[in-house]
Amino acid sequence: MNYPFWNVDIGYGVLMASIAVIHVFVSHFAIGGGLYLVVAETLARRNQDDEKLNLLKKLSKFFVLVSVVFGALTGVGIWFIIGLLNPGATEVLIHNYVWGWATEWTMFITEIAASILYYYGWKHMSGRNHIIIGWIYFIAAWGSLFVINGIITFMLTPGEWIQTGNFWDGFFNPTFWSTLWLRTGVCIMLAGLYSLLVLSREKASDFKVSMVRFNAIWGLAGLLIIVPTMYWYWHVIPQTITDTALKMMPTPIKSLTASFWNVGAIALLLIVFGFIIPRRLHFIAALVIMLLGLSWFGHFEWMRESIRKPYVITDYMYGNAVEVSKKDVYKKQGYLSEIKIRTGDDGKDLFLHSCRTCHTLDGYKPLKPAFNGTDKAFIKSIVLGAHKLKGNMPPFWGTKKEAGLIADHIYKQVDQRDLATIYGLSGQALGAKVYEVRCNRCHEIGGYNDKSEALLTGATEESLGMILDMAGELAPEMPAFTGNAQEKKALIEYLLTVKE
């Protein structure tokens, strides 16, 4: 809360992903590609295979253009975007891991110099010296992964660091090793898939067949590392995090499931085209395999990022930069006294710093549809009980007055007509809508925190009416029912049909 808030109509998650996901694709390819090039060159020189060497020269030009330019600049882009989206968390990371990053920078210098010399070295260097530069490139690139992996995994599983504040406790955290090998597998797989794509443009020949096999082996070798390390990774994440994800968060679980399907599809296609019909590898098939690889990786990264919710650094800082250590201060003095740079509108400031990191009003995870047709009292209750909602949101530790200011700010911008008018509904259909808007966020029928059985067993119109009248007293975070009489009647009607 020490910083201004960038109020852009694009979801922060989308902004972050648009740069970070592209960067991780390229950076992992840059590491795996380095290993691929140097291993393939060694084999080609040993066998005096000029055709293969020519192909590798072509590959390395693209490799330099992609990794040195695109990889490096999108890496800088990540620095820029994290500083804009969550300067508070970036500050925490930099203060704790500045020398880790500085160490990574030394690897980066070596990596960039090596990649440029490797590319230009094709023209005049001896095989031996050229291969030495290739190996230096790979070692530096993998070293860079080693270091950055410690910082990235720290954010999900800070481990003992939470108690000690010690650099190494945070760096070698519970998910460090599993992720390191998982990412190494990704690097190898992507190198194989990309090379397969380049090769698919070649005319069918014995050379193409042998290279397709070679590249398929790379892809499968990557997968062979990925599958067990993914299992290992999932099981070293503290169970409280994985259980919460399974219970409250559909996004990471969907991503995880999708990633399994991708792995299966990639393996199948690699076996088919790599070993059964290598001569028939067409560009489209290679492109599909490549896209599946990227899709797998994208799903993994999406899962990794979203499973951390509601934190940006687990048990230390929430996604909206609310600091766990300041809980008592917030509860006593509220958020406003901690928001250092203000817009002049208290409700807006509170909204920006409490909600806007994850929600826009009408775009990404929009609030307008969620609150259209409701009222200030309801919105305020939702703010105060945010941590109970499906989706694993951060708690609101500001004062009740501040929650009211946020509610006022949101209410001003939503459709203030009643639900029946907005959606043109009545009867049971209106009741279903009322349930969706007012109840479903905490009590999903047949899903999250489902209370329908307890609520509806033996329920009558009268008993349901009474429950709705005293809803605000049932649990501290439960909002009172503040809908109008028509909505109440429709909701009861709907609940009775659910019972049936």
Partner: protein, 343 residues
Amino acid sequence: MLLTLPSYDFISAPLWLVTVLHIVTLTLHFLAMNFMVGGLAIVLFGCFKNKQANPIVEKFIRAFPSMMAATVTLGIAPLLFVQLVYAKPVYAASVTSAWFWLMIFMVAMGSYYFLYGAAFSKKFIGIKQRVYLIIALIGFVYVSFVYSATFSMSEHPDVYQALYASNQTGLVLNPNIMSYLFRWMHMLAGAVMVGGFFVVLLGRDNEQAFIVGRRFYLGAFLVSFVLGIAYLFALKDILRLIMRGPAIWILTGSIALSVLSVFWLYKRKIVLTSIALLVSFVGMVVVRHIVRLIYLKGSALAFDPAQIPFQPQWSIFIIFLVCFVLALAAVGYMFKLFYGEQK
């Protein structure tokens, strides 16, 4: 337990050490950037006679992508150190101008590809190549302008607070243009001066390149001198504080060395010119650093980096130093392999 979570309000190496590393890496970044920006300006507007044949132009164009790689790589470390020590004002200013700030890396990437496009061309120097280089240069001018505007704003918390209060979309740029216009133009002129030096250095056996480089060196020196003086006067009250501290001596020494470097260049004493230029360059970077400190200390933020608690992390710092030495050794070794065989 809640109140005993680790703090992040600390720096993990002595401030002087971080400052030295910051200044050294920033100087190296500026040198690489100046080679590129100044070199681009001279290649494009240098009026080389017989451009088709002049090997120095080709040498520069071939070298631009590698120098861009060096600029980016060497720019990461000072960005890291500035964020470590000056996180609050720097992030606040960059968030206020978020879109312009974010565009920096995209524009730099575009320029980078245009440099490669020019370097991979077979014809030196054709229309297509010239267009590529102009686009790259425009990109770098944009980057430098946004950097100047944002870092200048970070030194004026009252400006970003007022600006943020009126607009939170990140579509606003520092409106106090007079506070950074001369600074920005001074740095651009300085880049051309350093570019001129590199033209002289790389073309020392080429009389025409030597003359062009020297002409740009002198011209850019005069322009940057005038702009530097204008910038100093634009500092207003800060100027008085500079006059009272060591900064004025460093500045005077740097100017004197710059004048000497021009003199030595005309005497064709390249080694002396390069030493004078480098030392004056470091001096300018130090003065820039002192100006930032004075601004921030006197601002509403009353920010003084000396007040940041120090909690050492020596083990990882030593690993960093070892890796740094290893990296330099590895790069040196690779260059030896590369150029050894080229000879």
